[in-house]
């Protein structure tokens, strides 16, 4: 899913870590991309993974001051990169 070496999908974001949103997969439908943007998933925004319930259940992410759960299908189409300060972490 990753377009560049430093870019990975939101689904792959480890628990209790943060990343910066760099864009969306080209295959993501506009209306879902639009809804994510309405939620606050904008390019440059910091996103944190708060919870990863077991058995492949949707994961919980924090954006700005709200939390959302996204399933794998959707989270894999949200592209993020490590935060500047955590580039070599």
């Amino acid at each position: 899913m990753a377009d560049k070496p430093d870019t990975f999908s939101l689904w792959d974001l480890p628990l209790h870590t943060s990343a910066q949103l760099v864009g969306f997969s080209a295959t993501l439908q506009d209306r879902y991309q639009g809804r994510l943007q309405e939620f606050g998933f904008h390019t440059g925004e910091e996103i944190s993974c708060l919870h990863q319930p077991g058995f492949g259940a949707p994961r919980v992410f924090r954006v700005s001051n709200a939390t959302y759960s996204l399933d794998r299908e959707l989270a894999e189409q949200v592209l993020v990169t490590r935060l500047a300060g955590e580039a070599n972490a």
Binding site: L36, P53, V60, S64, N65, L70, L74
Partner: protein, 622 residues
């Protein structure tokens, strides 16, 4: 009548505000063509002014059919000269989430020259944490008044009433510069692309500048989520809460259901002596009172289920339950939100179908409708009890710990649940591929549920059931009674039109090893499945079989009905969609009698086929 529109994002406390402003004076309407609630109420302090509560939505650019209908209706309402004011509710604790929608609404109102007031709800939560938003600064940037209120405590609501009751000035066009070229009559459809990007940036900037920091507010939520979504604790809590929900449907409703039955019976007992004997009295006793009792008895279940689900939803837990269940149900094309309706269906399909309203995805909701009638509802229990008593020995295993009869009942329940999931899964895979909506859900903050509004909503739902479905159920009951009563005034069910019908359809049941008597009992079970036992008893000359099945069990055993026929009957009842009340509710909720009738036909065919296979296999093996 002059009206005020109330709009806002989900979980912004909009409905709580609506309840505060209107008190008990409200009613629920539906958008034409789709099941989306639209509450309308009078302002408690301004009786000449209506308040219209729109469903919560994140945007004026809809992504589902329900949102599309709601947004189109909002668009249409803005053009209505009776609409004097728009109140846009935002969550003061999560300002950015609400502000994108708020900016869209303000722009739409400006184009239609409608006054708008932004109400920042949950001000009490901010204050409790020592936080605040800069309402004055936000107001000056938006060009509209911004009032901080608490729908929960009532603080700040006087300001809202003052705004909507006065001659509020039309908003200054502060934001119009963001999309100056948009046509006024295409205010919603034309937006998107760069215009939306500008709004996102504006919402983000305004929230950062005027909103409250979020860390404190999210800390408690995150701690609770660690418990409720944890691999071990989350699963156990989920199981416990579902057990309580199930108990509420089955056990807590029972006294009220008994009371309703007793009340209807008492009313009949009081009224019937005043009616002359004969057809009229039989009609009132067996058709009218049975028909009324047949749907009134479900009212307590619907109230209790709606109330408990309301508690779960208002507390914030329902979103977590949907998350936990989503993955396994998604395999069958269902949503995480399908779980509660399906679980409710184990008690009764009628409240379960109502509960499916919470599923946003039309496809997942339709598949849930398909699965619910196959859940082993309580009305099937008397039929299973009779058939198990006839065919399954009372022998036990493991020193009396496990009995064959209990195992059989468990097996037929599991069979029903698996059948529901399988049908949903197969239909999902083999129907033209309508796209499935991905799962994206806001995790609302945990809070103590507001009991009064939830109780009020539960009453409304029960009223809706009585007024919308009751007439249909009563009508069908009267038709079936008429078929069973004439032409011999109820003297002999076997010789009635219903009995004749049973004999006509005997060839259908002969391949299952069943004669016309079972055909009549099956046809009469369309009133309610449990009627099968009483009808079979009546045909075999045993009165009161519903209360004491032993004589009927002995008679059927003496008739040497094959085991294959008994198992075929169980399978038939597990699959067939016979309950007219369920069919009526399905038609109402799906907004289509065609869908409901197609489901009846499809499940009858499937039930017969599965029963025939069961009979053939059992006969070959035994």
């Amino acid at each position: 009548m002059p009206s005020v529109l109330l709009v806002g994002t989900p979980n912004s406390g909009k409905t709580a505000l609506f309840n505060r402003l209107t008190g008990l004076n409200q009613r629920v309407a539906n958008y034409p063509g789709i099941t989306v609630d639209l509450s309308v109420g009078r302002f408690a302090s301004i009786p000449e002014l209506d308040l219209v509560d729109f469903p919560g939505t994140y945007s004026l650019r809809p992504i589902s059919e329900e949102e599309r209908v709601a947004v189109a209706h909002f668009d249409h309402s803005l053009a209505d000269p009776e609409v004097e004011h728009v109140v846009c509710v935002v969550d003061a604790t999560r300002l950015e989430k609400s502000l994108f929608f708020c900016l869209q609404v303000i722009r739409a109102c400006q184009r239609q020259r409608r006054a708008v007031t932004v109400v920042a709800n949950m001000g009490d939560i901010l204050r409790r944490h020592g936080l605040r938003i800069d309402a004055q600064g936000l107001s000056s940037e938006l060009g509209v008044p911004v009032l901080v209120v608490s729908a929960r405590t009532g603080e700040g609501l006087d300001g809202v009433i003052e705004r909507v009751s006065g001659d509020a000035p039309v908003s200054e066009p502060t934001l119009s510069q963001l999309n100056e070229d948009a046509e006024p009559d295409q205010l919603i459809a034309s937006e998107g692309g760069d215009a939306d990007s500008a709004l996102y940036e504006e919402a983000h900037r305004l929230a950062e500048r005027y909103g409250a920091p979020a860390d404190v507010l999210l800390q408690t939520q995150s701690q609770l989520d660690r418990f409720f979504l944890g691999s071990a604790t989350g699963g156990m809590t989920f199981a416990l809460i579902m057990l309580i929900l199930f108990q509420s449907i089955f056990t807590w409703s029972a006294p009220a259901m008994d009371a309703v039955e007793s009340g209807v019976a008492a009313l009949g007992g009081w009224l019937l002596p005043y009616i002359p004997g004969g057809v009229l009295r039989d009609f009132v006793a067996d058709a009218v009172f049975s028909g009324i009792g047949a749907f009134l008895v479900f009212v307590p279940q619907i109230f209790v289920l709606t109330f408990v689900i309301g508690l779960l939803e208002d507390s914030g837990y329902l979103a977590r339950a949907a998350l936990i269940c989503h993955k396994p149900l998604r395999f069958f094309g269902l949503s995480g939100k399908s779980f509660i309706p399906m679980l409710s269906g184990v008690a009764c399909a009628i409240p379960a179908i109502y509960a499916a309203r919470s599923i946003e995805s039309p496809r997942a909701r339709a598949l849930t409708y398909l699965a619910i009638p196959l859940m082993p509802c309580s009305a099937r229990l008397p039929v299973y009890t009779l058939l198990i008593a006839i065919f399954i020995p009372r022998e036990t295993l493991f020193g009396g710990l496990v009995g064959w009869q209990g195992l059989t009942l468990f097996g037929i329940y599991v069979f029903g649940m698996l059948a529901g999931l399988t049908v949903a899964g197969l239909v999902n895979r083999f129907t033209p591929s309508q796209e499935q909506m991905p799962f994206m859900m806001e995790m609302p903050a945990y809070r103590v549920p507001a009991l009064v509004p939830i109780a009020r909503k539960s009453v409304q739902r029960a009223q809706h059931f009585v007024t919308k479905a009751g007439l249909v159920i009563l009508s069908v009951t009267i038709v079936v009674w008429t078929l069973g009563y004439f032409p011999n005034q109820g003297a002999d069910l076997g010789a009635s039109w219903l009995g004749t019908l049973g004999q006509w359809i005997e060839p259908l049941f002969q391949p299952l090893g069943l004669d016309w008597r079972y055909g009549v009992a099956i046809v009469s079970a369309f009133l309610a499945r449990e009627v099968f036992v009483g009808t079979l008893g009546t045909i075999m000359g045993i009165e009161g079989a519903e209360e004491n099945i032993v004589p009927l069990v002995e008679q059927v055993q003496a008739s040497a009905l094959p085991l294959g026929s008994g198992l075929a009957l169980m399978v038939f009842f597990a699959i067939a969609l016979q309950c007219v009340s369920t069919v009526a509710i399905l038609a109402k909720e799906a907004q289509s009698w065609r869908i409901a009738i197609n489901m009846v036909i499809a499940y009858l065919l499937l039930a017969w086929l599965a029963a025939w296979v069961t009979f053939q296999v059992t006969t070959a093996l035994v």
